[in-house]
Symmetry: C2
């Protein structure tokens, strides 16, 4: 499967890297509109660069070789991963359709850009053989994994109420805020995450509220989930611990905050210190009858990278759900110890 990555920002560069380490797909190249350091680093990795015709000269001046334009890139690929800024994907869709190539969009696009929204644990099957698929955004991915884990563990979810302290900006976004402020984001309830979870988990009773905080490293969720029954805490711990792409972190081992999770990822030698897993603070897992409480971190830059790889496999019918998840995880180096695959 030959993959084109269009848009080489926070998500695009991670998807390109994740695709490159899989043995059943190949990165054709990346489409980029500016010859900045991102382009230079992509070229250094050996990724072929594609750019708009009117930008060729600026790439040449930056000593960057351009292999073609968007049409060239698409024609050489079997599938496109569109990781352009919010809304641009929808504009690009007609180009992909005209070329007869399937495409994966990101969560910044409206759900109706695609035939189905996607989260590997939640609804891999829905994307099999589809033409246009949308990988849901980072926070929605985090929620979808946690709720899917509970469902896969046989636990019925009566309702989910999730309260999110969003990171204000990604580390490289030097112009965004807030600093020293907490911003209702949005001030209205629900935030878009609740409805977005329904695009992959179906008609679940979920409401989310979110505030933005002066942090760049990760999102933090405080989740309140009402279950159909009152399980023992050990059951929840077991279900979360055995689900792929969810990891538990104990305070007694020194994991006191999101920064500790990031430090762990850096020490593990992860590229860019990426945390592909939902990082659950195990001490926070609390049961009050049928009410389950937990807190977990979501690494906004990294969490959707493995999901994009699985979406490619689903669209290309390269393998089934559990084989794809396992394959992606092993190739990336996601912690798989004791995880159940299917």
């Amino acid at each position: 499967m030959r993959v084109a990555v269009v848009g080489y920002g926070t998500i695009g560069k991670r998807v390109a890297d994740a695709v490159s380490v899989q043995d059943d797909m190949r990165l054709v190249g990346v489409f980029k509109t500016t010859p900045d350091y991102g382009a230079t680093l992509a070229a250094r990795k050996g990724y072929r660069l594609y750019a708009p015709d009117d930008k060729r000269e600026s790439f040449r001046k930056a000593s960057l070789e351009v292999s073609g334009n968007l049409t060239d890139l698409i024609s050489e690929a079997d599938i496109v991963v569109d990781a352009t800024p919010d809304g641009v994907g929808a504009e690009n869709k007609s180009i992909y359709a005209k070329a007869g190539k399937p495409a994966i969009f990101q969560g910044g696009e409206e759900a109706d850009v695609a035939e189905t929204s996607f989260n590997a644990l939640a609804n891999f099957e829905n994307a099999v053989g589809k033409k246009f698929v949308r990988v849901v955004s980072c926070n929605t991915t985090g929620i979808s994994r946690v709720l899917s884990a509970l469902k896969l563990g046989g636990l019925g979810i009566k309702k989910a109420r999730i309260f999110i302290a969003r990171r204000g900006a990604d580390p490289r976004e030097y112009k965004k805020g807030p600093i020293n402020d907490v911003v209702p984001n949005p001030a209205t309830i629900p935030s878009h995450h609740g409805p977005d979870v329904k695009t992959v988990l179906g008609d679940i009773d979920i409401i989310t509220a979110a505030v933005a905080v002066p942090v760049t490293i990760m999102h933090m969720h405080m989740a309140y989930i009402e279950l159909d029954d009152a399980p023992r805490r050990e059951k929840i711990v077991d279900v979360l611990a055995s689900t792929p792409r969810i990891l538990l972190f104990d305070v007694k081992a020194g994991y006191n905050s999101l920064a500790q999770i990031v430090e762990w990822a850096r020490d593990m030698g992860r590229p860019r210190g990426d945390v592909w897993e939902v990082a659950v603070f195990s001490d926070s897992i609390t049961l009050n009858g049928r009410e389950l409480y937990l807190m977990y971190g979501v690494h906004q830059e990294a969490i959707v990278a493995p999901e994009n790889v699985d979406a490619i496999r689903a669209v290309g019918k390269l393998s089934d759900k559990w084989s794809s998840i396992e394959k992606t995880d092993k190739a990336l180096g996601i912690v798989t110890h004791g995880k159940r695959y299917g």
Copy 2:
């Protein structure tokens, strides 16, 4: 009523100022252990300084006149407000008891330091004539006001689940964190706030969870409250708008975040930019059947100042609940337009 303030930090200095503007009580002086700029500014306001005997010399070197030691201050007062660091109040209690003087403690002390915990809206009557009273902490005060407003408005509360993004430190605390981190605080659930609310509101079903964020200006609460019935949204807005010490802020008027609330307080000419009211983001008030959602800011430095004044009146039997609240609010300049007092 002659009032002594012991401990002149974030809370103490505000209580001293709040007492000074009431016409039925008089500030005798403040007890301070270090001759720092706080002491200099207190002296400049004309507050008499009291200090430990072994610190007299250091105060003299800083050109600060000392009127006596702790025993002297207590003997000249009818009541003590203890605003010392967490735990010190409990140590001081025997001194106040020995002198036969009633005392008000702060929320940093354990509840058992006093005969009753206190929040003016929630349980003013419980403190009437008592010897030892504890004003609950800032977050607990915020929650107690909101829940009291609903109760006073005739709305039954089935359960309250409050998720708190705590400010990491006060503006002057230059050594505290976090920076660029979100810290489960505590990692276990519930945080102390839920149980603490029960000390003033009785046996209510409440659970709280909290994280600390890199903000110094205010706390933000995301509240989920299950009511006995399903009221119209207008009812909730009316109840909150007409309750003293709760204010509504609209996004359409430019109140997009906590920083806007603080800017409002500064523009209002408030001392230190203090926000004594619970600052509710009115756009966040949402009803989903019997479920009520709202977000509100709690100014950790200021919100308990009026509560301390009311606690003094309750202990001294100076006036009844609603007269005290109204008197305190008018003296401080708390926004009273359209509020119902009793």
